[in-house]
């Protein structure tokens, strides 16, 4: 059984249809890249999967419809890392990462048991190590660079220890070295058995690191499959209206956006 299956997903806001008839399946340990031009529905797709937007169609996690799970149960099985960095307070990295344990803690009054607290501490440690921010744990968020901050936010999402991670452009604010680092961290997360749905713009990183790609265009899935098949000249022309310079280096593909095509 697939970890995540999405069928006939449709999102409408007012009279506008942002997403229509999207279907996908994700296995445990797999990294699925979602690519497409601005406004093609990438963020809408991951938000709908995370049950943060009203939608039609079905989203199943290990066979169970997500919409029917109580919020806390769902939160333990699905981690969502948003595109916008919404953190307004300069809290410490360790405090930020610890927020990822919220779904596992008892709500309201009464403290957690010592065993529960110890498990939460261990999960936070693992996330700090996995995202390579353990040296930054005592730092305030407002003293971090963009790339460090992106890794700290990733650590928060990893701390949930959910089998599914939805990450919306986690590398957008990072420099090239941090981008490569974060892609390697996400690959390592998959190697530990998690499934990851990753929204990104960089076509080379998408080709190199993702097992499969989903190319969205105007709210529809234009293509889906292995990176080499999805990012062919015809699909890139249709989706982005660009010509791409491609090749391979050390046996891995690269794709450089080269020029805009006038007929788009």
């Amino acid at each position: 059984m697939s970890l995540l299956t999405v069928d006939g997903l449709e999102v409408r806001i007012g009279a506008r249809t942002l997403l229509r008839e999207v279907a996908l399946a994700l296995e445990a340990g797999e990294l699925l890249g979602v690519v497409g031009p601005n406004g093609s529905g990438k963020s809408t797709l991951v938000k709908a999967i995370a049950q943060l937007l009203p939608h039609r169609g079905e989203v199943r996690l290990a066979g169970e419809p997500l919409a029917r799970l109580p919020a806390r149960q769902r939160a333990r099985r699905l981690a969502y890392l948003g595109q916008d960095d919404g953190v307004r307070w300069p809290i410490s990295v360790a405090d930020l990462v610890a927020l990822g344990r919220h779904p596992w803690q008892s709500g309201g009054w009464g403290g957690a048991s010592a065993a529960r607290a110890a498990r939460d501490r261990e999960a936070v440690e693992r996330a700090l190590v996995a995202a390579e921010v353990e040296a930054l744990r005592a730092r305030r968020l407002d003293t971090l660079s963009g790339g460090e901050r992106a890794r700290a936010r990733l650590a928060r999402a990893l701390a949930v220890e959910a089998p599914l991670l939805l990450a919306d452009e986690p590398i957008a604010a990072a420099d090239p070295r941090h981008q490569l680092r974060i892609m390697e961290l996400l690959r390592a997360h998959c190697a530990r058995g998690a499934g990851v749905v990753l929204v990104l713009h960089d076509l080379t990183l998408a080709s190199r690191f993702c097992d499969r790609l989903l190319l969205l265009h105007q709210g529809r899935a234009l293509a889906q499959g292995r990176p080499g098949e999805v990012l062919d000249a015809a699909n890139l022309r249709a989706a982005y209206g660009i010509e791409v310079l491609g090749g391979s280096h050390q046996g891995e593909p690269y794709l450089i956006p080269w020029r805009c095509l006038d007929d788009h």
């Binding site: 995370a50 769902r74 890392l81 927020l99």
Partner: protein
Amino acid sequence: MRRLFAPWSLNLALLVALALASLLSLGLGAAPLTPGEVLAGLLGTGSTEQRLIVQQIRLPRVVLAWLVGAALGASGAALQGLLRNPLAEPGLLGISASAGLGAVLTLHFGLTAISLWLLPGAAMLFALLATLALYLLTRRGASNLTLILAGVALSALAGALTSLALNLAPNPASVQDIVLWLLGSISDRSFDDVLLALPFVVLGLMLLLATAPALEVLALGEAEAASLGVDLARLRGLIVLGAALAVGSTVAVSGTIGFVGLVVPHLLRRLVHHRPGALLVPSALGGALLVLVADIALRLLDTPRELMLGVVTALVGAPFFLALVLRSRGAPG
């Protein structure tokens, strides 16, 4: 991880300061008492006169300062956490202004002559009406921006109607009543006032404090908080209702006292490492301390007439607010 203090030690320090300020306040007045005499009066071991002065005359004022300050401080911290904005405070949502309008209307129509309970009753009723409007908005999934704009509109409406009541006041005496009441004070209050506000403040504080874990997660932003299982509509509802109950009932017995809800969370935020949930309890204690200290200060000042509490908090708070706005153009907090 290195911590400046454990949260409980900050709360303990605030509690000790609050106890000392309370002893000082109970000793102040026409017949000054030493802290020893105050304690004797409190415990009932002193003279009848001491017991009467401390328990009947001065204690209601001190307890009201606790209630008013705790309500304003905790509401301010909760609203700042909810709106993720260090400039939010109970006055912002129109709750204080609406409660003030209810009280002003009873003064305008001279209804206080019928029953002394009408003024606080009307203040709480109007605070609840304002809250109900805000709550219905949050039920319909309104964003925080909508909530703030609705609060600004409610404040403006309540302010305009208050001005209208002053404008059409039947006689100079009722104008003076209204103006003095609007300035805010906790002097010459009895245990009737305390008992009126107490249950609502306690209930409001309980609702506010119960939101601490969810407020903490809301630091991530609304989408990620929702993905971690936080029910945003419930969180908004709890905070709006809690703030209305606590602030509305204190406005009912003390008039409008501004800026405490803004200043106190801001001063304490660093000490809890900017964690919005951990800020709630210290803000309640710090608010109580600030109102008590302000109330002591206005009695120690040598002015021709005793200053009103609301005047003192606004005089200190407004410049602070301006400095905060000018500084927060960079990063908040």
